[in-house]
Symmetry: C2
Subunit: 219 residues, 2 copies
DNA sequence: CAATATCTGTTGCATTTGCAACAAAGTTTA
DNA sequence: TAAACTTTGTTGCAAATGCAACAGATATTG
C-alpha cells in the first residue's frame, strides 16, 4: 500500500481530505524516519516529546522490570499511533521502550506542534486536536473496560464480563470475537487450557454455546 | 471551601488565573447544577455529551451487569472531573450510571463547547483543550500501569509490580503508599488476607520490609 | 485511661487455577 | 488426499488463593 493510502487511515487525520492531509503534514513538519529491524526508537527512561505514527513495518512497545525481564506490551502496525499518551502527558522518563520489530518507517510529530497554534492559522490544527482527544478518550474507555473484566475474581466471571461486553457492543446475543482461544486467554491474562475448561463448564451449565470464535450467550 | 478555591484546583483550568477562570466559565456557559443525594446524574444507556465537574459533595460511577448487579467503579470528589472520556469519545450509550453519593453541586460543560472555537476567540480554549489532552493522557498512563500490575499471574508478582512502580515514581527504595491493606487489596482486586499473607512471605524472603503503609524494597 | 473501633496478621480449608502433557478437531500445504 | 501443522479440548496434580473466623496491634473517642 502506498503512503497516501496509509495516511488516509490514520485516525489523527480523520475528517481531512488527501490534499488537506498533505498540507497538514507540512504544518506538522513532516519527518519520515526509517529504522532497521531491532533498532531502538524510544529508549526507556528518556523523555517523550513526539507522537509516533507507523507507516511501514511494525514497532513493539517493551517494558523492562527492575530485574531486566522484558515483556511485550503491544505491537503497533501501519496507520497506528504510539507514544501518544506519553507525549501528551509530557512524560520525562518513559516507562517503556519502543523498538523496531521489523524494518519500518515512521513519522514523528512533536506534540507541541499539535497543540501549538499554527503560523498559518490553519484549520487543520483544530480537527487534529479534536481527533487526538477522541483517540485518547476511546483508548481510555477500552482500558477501563479491560480493567472491568480483570477485576473479576474467577475465570468464569472474567469470561462472562468479556462476553457480555462483546454482546452489548454488537447488540446481539450471538457474535464473533476477534480472538482465538490463545489470544482470548492472553487478553484476560489467563491460562489457555483453564479458559477452555471453564468455557466447557459454562456450556454444560447452559450459560453459553460456542464453536471456535463464534459465541451465543443465554443471559 | 469556597467555590473559587475549588475552581482553582480543577486541572481543566490549570494555568489560568482566578480572573481567567471566571471569564472562561462564561465562555463555557456556566451551568451549576444541584443534585439531591441518591438522584441520577447520568443514566446508563443514555448518550453522554457533557463533561462533569464536582464542586461540592461527591458522585459515584456505577456499573450494572446484565443481571442487575451493581458495582461501584469510582467515587469522584470536589474539583475532579467525571464522564470526560465518554463525552470526548462521543459515547451514544453510557456503559455506566452516575449518581449523587451525597447532596452535591456540579458543573456540566457540553464537550462541543470545549473544542468548538469560541465566539470571543478567547485564548482560554487553547489552554483548556491542552489541559484536557493532558488529563486524558495521564489517566491513560494510570490505567495502563494498573493493567500492567493486573497482568501478573500471582499475588506476589502483582505486589512486586505495584511496589516497583511506586518505588520508581518516588525514585526511592523506601516510600509510603496511599493505601491501607484493604484498599491495596481492592486496588489490585485481591483478597486482603491473602495480600497480608503474601507480604509476610515476601518479608521472610528478604524481598521487602514494611510497617503499615511504609515500604522498603530490596530489589 | 478505658472502651471502642479500625486495621493488620494468622490459619485451616475447600476450591480454583496454572501447568504440563496428551488427544482430538480443524486447517493448510504439497 | 496424505501429511504436517495449528487450534482446541481434556485431565491429573500441585500450588495458589479466596474465604471465614479469630487474634493481636493500633488508633480514636468519650
Amino acid at each position: 500500500m502506498k503512503n497516501a493510502n496509509i495516511l488516509k487511515k490514520i485516525k489523527l487525520f480523520a475528517g481531512l481530505s488527501e490534499a488537506d492531509i498533505e498540507k497538514a503534514m507540512g504544518c506538522l513538519g513532516r519527518k519520515n524516519q526509517s529504522y532497521a529491524k531491532g533498532s531502538i526508537i524510544i529508549e526507556a527512561g528518556s523523555p517523550v516529546k513526539n507522537i509516533g505514527i507507523v507507516l511501514k513495518g511494525s514497532v513493539q512497545i517493551l517494558k523492562e522490570d527492575l530485574n531486566g525481564n522484558r515483556s511485550i506490551i503491544a505491537q503497533v502496525y501501519p496507520s497506528e499511533l504510539f507514544a501518544e499518551a506519553l507525549a501528551c502527558a509530557g512524560t520525562e522518563k518513559s516507562p517503556v521502550a519502543v523498538f523496531a520489530a521489523s524494518n519500518c518507517e515512521i513519522i514523528s510529530v512533536p506534540f507541541s506542534v499539535i497543540t501549538g497554534s499554527c503560523k498559518n492559522a490553519c484549520k487543520f490544527h483544530g480537527i487534529i486536536v479534536s481527533n487526538m482527544l477522541k483517540i485518547l478518550a476511546q483508548k481510555n474507555i477500552f482500558l477501563t473496560n479491560k480493567i472491568e473484566h480483570l477485576s473479576k475474581r474467577s475465570i468464569r466471571e472474567k469470561l462472562l464480563s468479556y462476553l457480555s461486553s462483546e454482546s452489548k457492543k454488537h447488540n446481539l446475543k450471538e457474535f464473533t470475537i476477534p480472538f482465538n482461544r490463545n489470544e482470548l486467554a492472553d487478553f484476560l491474562f489467563l491460562d489457555r487450557s483453564a479458559v477452555s475448561r471453564e468455557l466447557g463448564k459454562m456450556r454444560d451449565d447452559q450459560l453459553i454455546k460456542f464453536h471456535k470464535d463464534r459465541f451465543k450467550i443465554n443471559f
